[in-house]
Assembly symmetry: C2
Homo-oligomer: 309 residues x 2
Amino acid sequence: MPEPSTRECDLIRWIRGQARTDGLVLVGIGDDAALVRTRDASTLITTDLVIEGVHFDRAVATPADAGWKALARNISDIAAMGGESTAAVVAAALPRGFARSDAEALVQGLLECANAFGIRLVGGDLAATPGPLVLAVTLLGDLRGRAPILRSGARPGDAILVTGTLGGSRLGKHLRFTPRQAAGLILASSYRPHAMIDISDGLARDLHHLLDESGVGATLWADRIPVSQDALRLAALYGRSPLDHALGDGEDYELLFAADPGTAERLLADQPLGVPVTQIGVITEAGAVLALPDGTERPLEPTGWEHIT
Amino acid sequence: MPEPSTRECDLIRWIRGQARTDGLVLVGIGDDAALVRTRDASTLITTDLVIEGVHFDRAVATPADAGWKALARNISDIAAMGGESTAAVVAAALPRGFARSDAEALVQGLLECANAFGIRLVGGDLAATPGPLVLAVTLLGDLRGRAPILRSGARPGDAILVTGTLGGSRLGKHLRFTPRQAAGLILASSYRPHAMIDISDGLARDLHHLLDESGVGATLWADRIPVSQDALRLAALYGRSPLDHALGDGEDYELLFAADPGTAERLLADQPLGVPVTQIGVITEAGAVLALPDGTERPLEPTGWEHIT
């Protein structure tokens, strides 16, 4: 029977004392459900899992890292809609024997991220599991009266742009990354991309998601893709090319978007996002290809780096 | 790296085809986040875990049962606020090797419940786990312009009432139960309880949650507590009293609430909830006691049946 232990009740009481609240939170932690104000009479909602041994390794990640990541992944999704994150709930399956101090560290990592992005923790559920740690954070977001930026709006002729640098996130970035909420809000308010997605599965795969939803194709310029230092490090270690890491590693949590050429020109000149923005290709009528520096092209497969030859 | 497998992408595509949508869903499954209309410029939100081996046993529960239960638990929470459930997202950690047919059955159980209660499935996340099946459903709800019914409003002199019958849910009710959304909405619109909670942890423990939040006490009448047939069956099998099962078993998913005596009288006479409603005691200034038929009283511990002597 799933009754919370005394320990779990204590932990919930402790969390309730830690969580910040404000006028947006009409009912917070401690009732059957929370009640959250929504400014637009609509709300964005997204949910993401973080599983021990899948999304992080307890040998290198602290519980606080796991807490940060579980929330930050969701912020990245809200940002990719052009939204501002507002309120979160967290369902945590804690391994039997999980130390109270680890549970507190996990919540502190989550709250550190929440506070950094103005998010209120308004509720959750805790249970003991015979398996690994599983965190499911659900996040609400606000569009500030604007239309959402979908995956489906890209048009032939659009520029394809990306924030930051790509590849090699497993060397550490995948844990304590900064989701691109600020950049997403600047794009949504002033540049209105036609389509946007965050890169969680990898540039190649997530671009395909955007292309599929928009019913278009793309040419990516191999020599313009911003390769991270970590991709270079991994390439030096394991012999794959830095480009393959940038295309397929995933968990970059950067924004990938399509905008009309004039808008792209302004963005590239102004660099207003607080993180570098780079044009990496163009939207075409159909097909997805990678244009190589030698003038040849190869198909851009929607797979991770393991499948790119 | 947590890239969805082709299998997972296929499954998401299949789910997208199954999920009903309507004008409340501005953006549904298939983007970075969903966008849901909120009628009151506020939204209820709750999240609950269902874990294999904790909340259900795969030897007796089907995947469809698990799906139903994962959503129904949350509906019960929204109902306990006086709300109507509107839209859900589901994060599912599926054991490695989990059959596609089982995954579909799970989603069908969840959608069966969603459709029975007018709820839209608007998004989710799927990942493979080395551990047991974990489902985290997050549910939004609407108050239809009314104030929420909190745990904290009970006053001395209030009647304590409960829907349905209690105890023995492990014999089957805990899986395919009917959350009391209809009863909750009738109460919220026409009877305005001072405080309400749903019984998931057990009558004794959940009453204590309500008393703690309200800063009051209670006298429960032992001979008025509606004992279920399943509690009688368990008592006959294992030698504990039916009352102890009703007090401590949990997972009844009935509504427990406090209302002023006049309202209680109307409710008891009218029986308008579509499920029997019973008065089981009164709110007092402080302390929690169980009044026994022989005229004696004993302390009502906030624990499950194992701890009641």
